[in-house]
Symmetry: C2
Subunit: 148 residues, 2 copies
């Protein structure tokens, strides 16, 4: 398992969000054994007019459909940005094994959610995979928005 390989796939999804004028975040769900890509998605909050448009939620929905159930306990997720509390909670509820993320988000405070230990399931965290590329895409997006 080469984390950078899958984070590049997540980055490719994030670029699709960027082109669509959405906050550029991408996510892929991968089987923990073998690394087969099960689903991939990007942020569609504005297009879908729903907070559930976050990349992680979309990737989980697609993976659930493919697997035919809500337990993704043989799966890992790769996402370009540290998940918000909603997405962190969804990742725990889905029982995803390992979470690899790129850029950190000070507002996300997802670490305290993942590490609170109050749940039936623990997700292993691997932050900082291709951090610079992931962060650069987000920064460019917001710098361009501020021009208008």
């Amino acid at each position: 398992m080469n984390p950078e390989f899958y984070m590049k796939k997540a980055l490719a999804m994030a670029r699709k969000a960027y082109v669509a004028g959405e906050v550029p975040v991408g996510a892929v769900v991968v089987s923990s054994d073998g690394g087969k890509i099960i689903s991939s998605a990007f942020n569609v909050v504005e297009k879908s007019r729903s907070v559930l448009g976050h990349a992680e939620i979309q990737a989980i929905k697609k993976a659930e459909k493919k697997i035919g159930g809500w337990r993704l306990n043989d799966c890992d997720m790769f996402v370009t940005l540290e998940p918000c509390p909603m997405c962190a909670g969804a990742i725990i509820n889905s029982r995803i094994n390992n979470l690899y993320y790129g850029a950190s988000d000070d507002k996300a405070c997802s670490k305290s959610i993942f590490e609170s230990g109050g749940y039936n399931h623990t997700v292993n965290l691997f932050p900082g995979v291709l951090r610079e590329e992931c962060l650069s895409l987000i920064k460019t997006f917001f710098a361009e928005r501020r021009k208008f």
Copy 2:
């Protein structure tokens, strides 16, 4: 605005989940001014085979559709059980004004999410509305499950 009136509606939804064999949680979204019911939903995790089947997520989805956007900043939510981190995060992301819940859930640790203050939006919390009735329904459900 009489909170117990709306919590009774949420309880009626929770009973529908109970009858369907789902963990009995119900939620309603109400306009902050005037108290018009915008959406109501109950837990459908097993039926939908998705972690996104939680009552709060379903109620938010329906409200977004009705309103035609993801900003529910003129809305309150009533839910029979303290939200899990996923639902707490979705409620913050949706910019819901006031959250009324019935029974507390020690595992939920949603208070720390709501009170972390790291977000652009603060949700006002009103716990314990019809607490006994909400708790009793959940307790009965799990007591019956343990018999089998």
